[in-house]
Amino acid sequence: MIRLKTLGLAALLAFGAASAARAQEVKTPERQSWTFAGPFGHFDQAQLQRGFEVFRTVCANCHSANLLAFRNLSQPGGPSFSESQVKALAAEYTVHDGPGDDGAMFDRPGRPADHWVPTYANPEAAKATLGAAPPDMSVLAKARGYETPLWRSLIDVFTQYQEAGADYIYSLVALGYSDKKDPNHNDYFPVAGNHIAMPKPLSDKQVDYADGTPPTVDNYARDVTAFLTWVAEPKLEERKKTGLRATIFLLIFAGLMYFTKKRVWADAH
């Protein structure tokens, strides 16, 4: 009996080793719980503000977000910074503008109407320095996802699952860097044999949180993912709120139409 068990254990171990050897396989992200999911989904303002902090101090060093305007940061349904905060923030950045009256380009402080000022002027410049062009983050949360089996997709339309991009980004930055030896290995990166050009971007205590939220990689990843979801879909809250109103209206309207139809057809028989 014992021998059998040992054998079994050995087989298990061998199998485990085999699957470790096949760790090159791409992992499917676990589904996380997000405040912006579902019909009542909304953004957590404090989380977006923290997420912006992570984006600005970490991500933005390499990534651009060309569709994000400073003014967006104070609009409703977002991080909702005050207008004066946004003005001050924009002024910290230098915008290349012009040509001026003398025909030359010039630098000026940013204004709320300006778009996010990227670290690298263009993807080519980023590639020249970093070795690979980091993707623009404007709609990144909508541009990422993962394969879902058919049965799951069919359920997803009823549960209104639209957070595949968020789950992927979170998993990638918070959980994917599992290989201590290879900083460019990521379990969730679907191409090039899990080799991602971006080395592990986040570490504990890297960003200061003003509101006392523990400064951990997990929190950073969650917050910045929420922020990126908002950047990709700044009208999400407005959309879902309008959708609830529209759905309730349509349900009542359909009910009324049903009874009206019955009344009208009652004459036909």
Binding site: D156, K235, T260
Partner: protein, 415 residues
């Protein structure tokens, strides 16, 4: 649209106008007095739903065209500007993008309904062929519309679909160069697709008018597939009866539509289309919009380029010959026991092909696609001609009135 009308406006002004342009009579005879069979079920409301969707697509499309920039450098960002900055732009754009899917869902139901109840059979052959033309125009419009946001799927979709024409012997490459206006899909391609995407819906609207005209000449088919014998007993007036029923169906369909627009707007899309088009990198896994997937699966099931493309187009063209392929004397599938089974297998094969169209074209998937494609063509070219000769259909009711009565007693019996 069904000949001279006896309509007389009540007001003197109305009569004055009517004597000069009898548009009131036209509307009255087509949409008020027009007799509709009493026994129509809710599958018959999809004509109205489709009319509504065409209108919705044209209206939201005109709005989007006010803000969109058809240029390879600006197209992607102009769409995102619509989503972010234009007042209600997110709503217009999601309503339009999902509206295309809703349009196709409705048209597929409409087509399967026609197929099941034999709506293509004499005297409705022209009506049916006009429908096939509308469907072809819809596919062209949908395809070109999908190119406009200039994402990765837009670009590679455009490239793959236009390359279908390179299969034409001898002139294929000249044709694709002509379609592109260059040596690859580029700015000229985007501009002409934009122009045509704006034009085609109005052509659809034109053919829809002919479709409705043809419908009103021959009258609607019905679930029992029998002709109207007594207008009094067998039909009801279009208004209010059909109008109110259609309106109810449209509102219910709107609930379904709203679900996608407001809560799962990207469910039917592809994440890759949120990456700006890159002519130098094909995405790992490219798929067309879901409504083309069955045909895409047929294309990939065949290892030869020319034959594959022919099969793809043949799968659509065969629909136009349907009125002559089906040899049955009985119209409605309701009274054809073997046809019924074949029909539902056909529906399943279409769904199966749709699913396979989104899978990697390798191994078992290709074999499955070949089997289903075989059934697809076999259904039209073998089953339908033979079934009409060998099948013994049940006897349909003598009249629509009798069918309605029969349906009623059946429900009473159940109670």
């Amino acid at each position: 649209m069904s000949g001279p009308s006896t309509y007389q406006p009540k007001s003197a002004l109305g009569r004055w106008f009517e004597a000069r342009l009898p548009i009131g009579g036209l509307v009255h005879s087509s949409f008020v007095a027009y007799p509709t069979p009493r026994n129509l079920n809710y599958w018959w409301t999809f004509g109205a739903i489709l009319s509504f969707m065409l209108g919705a697509q044209i209206v939201t499309g005109i709005v989007l065209a006010m803000h969109y920039t058809p240029h390879v450098d600006y197209a992607f960002n102009s769409v995102e500007t619509i989503m972010r900055d234009v007042n209600w732009g997110w709503f217009m754009r999601y309503a339009h993008a999902n509206g295309a899917s809703m349009f196709f869902i409705a048209v597929y139901i409409h087509m399967f309904r026609g197929l099941y109840y034999g709506s293509y059979k004499a005297p409705r052959e022209v009506l049916w062929i006009l429908g096939v033309i509308i469907y072809l125009l819809m596919m062209a419009t949908g395809f070109m519309g999908y190119v406009l946001p200039w994402g990765q799927m837009s670009f590679w979709g455009a490239k793959v679909i236009t390359n279908l024409f390179s299969a034409i012997p001898l002139v294929g490459n000249s044709v694709t160069t002509w379609l592109w206006g260059g040596y690859a899909v580029d700015n000229p391609t985007l501009n002409r697709f934009y122009s045509l995407h704006y034009l085609l819906p109005f052509m659809i609207a034109g053919v829809v008018v002919l479709h409705v005209w043809a419908l009103h000449v021959v009258g609607q088919n019905n679930p029992d597939g029998i002709d109207v014998k007594n207008v009094e007993k067998d039909t009801v007036a279009f208004t209010p009866y059909a109008t109110i029923k259609d309106s109810f169906a449209v509102v219910v369909f709107l609930i379904f539509y709203a679900w996608f627009v407001f809560f799962t707007p990207n469910y039917l899309g592809e994440p890759d289309n949120y990456i700006q088009a890159n002519p130098l990198a094909t995405p790992a896994h490219i798929v067309p919009e879901w409504y083309y997937l069955p045909f895409y699966a047929i294309l990939r099931a065949i290892p030869d380029k020319l034959i594959g493309v022919c099969a793809l187009f043949g799968a659509i063209i065969v629909l136009a010959f349907l009125p002559w392929l089906d040899t049955s004397r009985v119209r409605s599938g309701k009274y054809r026991p073997i046809f019924k089974v074949c029909f539902w297998l056909f529906v399943l094969s279409c769904l199966g092909l749709g699913w396979l169209g989104a899978q990697e074209p390798s191994g078992g998937y290709v074999i499955a696609a070949r089997l289903l494609a075989l059934y697809y063509f076999g259904f039209f070219l073998v089953l339908l001609p033979i079934l009409g000769l060998v099948e013994t259909p049940r006897t349909p009711p003598a009249s629509i009135a009798e069918a309605v009565l029969r349906g009623k007693t059946a429900t009473i019996d159940q109670h």
